[in-house]
Symmetry: C2
Subunit: 328 residues, 2 copies
DNA sequence: ATGAAAGCGCTAACAG
DNA sequence: CTGTTAGCGCTTTCAT
């Protein structure tokens, strides 16, 4: 591997000059510039980013920490982030935290030593104090974070109200909610939205809310139990699309026909919805856009560009009607 | 951020000594060791990996290049890789190539400048010459690579024969194959397996093979066309599970009942199979194990450990019967 | 057992 | 416009 020194020698100039043409930085005579370029060509030289990082204290790299890339919500997010980074000559480090604060902190520690320039993190376990000392820009994606880091998310509460309202509109009389894990802001907000909408329609009953998890099988079990205790439930708002699949399975296993006996709606808008049968109605978030915006915001922060409105943003969500709620 | 110099000063020793205790390398008096450790504690010092990388020409980082993390096959692979890396104190850089040789080469170039220690790559466009000069260990995952890099994959050809054989066994008389993209070794091998099994049963007709792509909608179209031209097809072996979903949709749209009018089987064994209705039969690969083994092999290579049998490995696949082939 | 110093490859004052 | 040089923070001979 040729170094900047080799190039300098080949071009009969100093390393400073080579560095200048490399970074189009400072004045350099057109002729010497050409000589340097030729030398670079001749030696097939490419600058060493590690050396540059050491000096610059920046690695043109960002860390994305998600709970688990296998959850179908995250690949699309990750892809969007990677696309933006790629376009801006950054590189993506992917970390799976399994929602464990320990892993998250360790990753942050390790990556900081690598001069990572920023983080995008989907977390419900980290707190402001974990992040305050951190001298690196950080963005919270998809989840509320009690601190002043920018938050890129979407309107979970409003979306949940919309979903519930919609089930009411199509004629459901007894609507249950299988909520996502406790203490995950997204799940909490959706639960609140459901709660408030139900209450303001005088339809609320505490037993209609069940605690699910982002696991199809577990959600199926939970749903079956709920249906056992409340056989006349005729509509279910699931905490997300993956959970909605679990609900669909529960319906099938208890001999209910969706949507006629039981209308089902999810949340997120992942492609999974179009694959099930019946296809799932859902409250769709603009997932790719969320990842895209998070990455753009982070890069703006890193590069010290002006950030309007603190950088936080909340995306609108959209009701998508499919077979799982279309009653004839 | 404290540096090794600060620690040295605090402990009243030289930086060399600090480095020694940091790396448990060379002799160091127990007492001075304690002093150094205390200083490290006191200053809350953590070594800077970039500086270390510069000297060592290694970053404890590997690059994983996949076509598109949104394709549900890859997240599980990526997760397995990350798990192994994490356990071995490596870090994962994720790259999406969209099957474009240009992007792959560029990523390799960029990452080499970062002293990435190795690559795991899922590619059908790179060739031996792209990789020969490369002075970094590399593993080809899931795809055949014409060169002497280790290949971690599974038995696509045998699996395809098994799938075809199975459709014959359950009584299908006219079996079609919607194959994956041309020049992707996985898709080619599966097509060959189908071809050979059909031929050896005297059932082969060239018109029963259609060119699909890893896109549900396109596969649906292709399948509908094939069914139009061959209305009496009663079994389809799809190039992978995603494509099988497309086939399921085509069946639905043309008024065919799966499995009674048309038996369908996929390949891969992603979780999607259990979500469709009817649930999809498939030839399952041990996806997680594949990623796991690829990562382990790579780390062995990087750390110069003895590699039995060149490192290549081909996993067995397993027929999983579900509703899409279960005729009453 | 410990320290001094060279150097990994690059950038940015500072001089000229 | 160009060169010299001092680091960035760490590891590793080579002395002692």
């Amino acid at each position: 591997m040729a170094t900047i020194r080799d190039v300098a020698k080949e071009a009969e100039v100093s390393v400073a000059t080579v560095s200048r043409v490399l970074n189009s930085n400072g004045y350099v005579n057109e002729d010497t510039r050409k000589k340097v370029l030729a030398a670079i060509q001749a030696l097939n030289y490419t600058p060493n980013s590690v050396a540059r990082s050491l000096y610059k204290k920046s690695s043109k790299t960002i860390g994305l920490i998600v709970p688990d890339i296998k959850n179908p919500f995250f690949p699309e997010l990750a892809r969007a982030v990677e696309d933006v980074l790629n376009k801006n000559n950054y590189t993506l480090i992917l970390c799976n935290s399994d929602e464990k604060a320990g892993k998250e902190k360790e990753y942050i520690e390790v990556l900081k030593q690598k001069y990572v320039d920023g983080f995008i993190i989907v977390t419900s376990t980290l707190t402001a104090s974990d992040v305050d000392g951190l001298n690196v820009p950080i963005i919270s994606l998809d989840r509320i974070f009690e601190s002043n880091v920018p938050i890129i998310a979407s309107k979970n509460y409003e979306g949940a109200r919309k979903a519930t309202r919609y089930l009411i509109d199509i004629g459901c009389k007894k609507i249950a909610h299988i909520r996502g894990p406790l203490h995950i802001s997204t799940a909490d907000d959706r639960c609140f939205g459901y709660y408030d909408e139900m209450e303001s329609n005088g339809m609320l009953e505490e037993t209609l809310i069940a605690n699910g998890s982002y696991d199809i099988k577990k959600t199926t079990e939970v749903t079956k139990e709920l249906l056992l205790n409340n056989p006349d439930v005729d509509g279910i708002f699931a905490g997300n699309d993956v959970m909605a699949v679990g609900v669909l399975k529960a319906a099938e296993q208890t001999g209910r026909v969706v949507p006629d006996d039981l209308a089902v709606i999810g949340f997120d808008g992942i492609y999974l919805c179009e694959v099930t049968s019946p296809q799932l109605s859902t409250i769709a978030q603009p997932i790719y856009e969320m990842g895209y915006r998070a990455a753009e915001t982070l890069i703006n922060l890193i590069e010290g560009r002006f950030e309007k409105s603190q950088g936080s943003y909340s995306f609108d969500v959209q009701l998508i009607e499919r077979q799982s709620t279309k009653r004839k």
